[in-house]
Symmetry: C2
Subunit: 94 residues, 2 copies
């Protein structure tokens, strides 16, 4: 869990692409697979990594499993970056 998992998950281009796809609409695993040139098995593992990182949520609907984006964990990254940048230099919320 945490920052480590999130950043690891984001460090793969296919996984980022998946997240971008899900920005527009939730999609079934199969629909997602169709957007890539790798096998379904490969995408499935990417999905499980994203899910593990809580960047996506899944709900089964009959035969299909739908994936939706969850951006809440991205806050942690934003925070870490903001802290690293140390806005504390030019008086923005002291």
């Amino acid at each position: 869990m945490g920052l480590q998992n999130t950043l690891k998950a984001l460090s793969d281009p296919i996984r980022r692409e998946i997240l971008s796809l899900l920005k527009h609409k939730t999609m079934s695993a199969g629909e997602i697979v169709d957007h890539f040139s790798v096998t379904g098995a490969s995408i499935s593992r990417h999905l499980s990594i994203l899910k593990e990182a809580d960047l996506i949520r899944d709900t089964r609907e009959g035969k299909y499993i739908y994936y939706e984006l969850n951006t809440s964990v991205l806050e942690e990254i934003m925070l870490w970056i903001t802290e690293l940048k140390g806005e504390d230099g030019h008086d923005k919320n002291l």
Copy 2:
């Protein structure tokens, strides 16, 4: 270059720790090494990855090589995340 390199560089905990150290002051390679339990060679490779990603800059000063933080490339991540979150939902800059 770009987002991929940056995220890859950030996906390792030692490298993130190095960046955090450099937030406070620029440090020589040796000083950085002292903060970790791995060998200097290992840290040196981490430094080269961070440098490749342009997250740090180095300047030789005599025997020593000093490293300093460069946060400018983090903007790209912030942008990517912001875009993914799609603030376009509750009318903030339409």
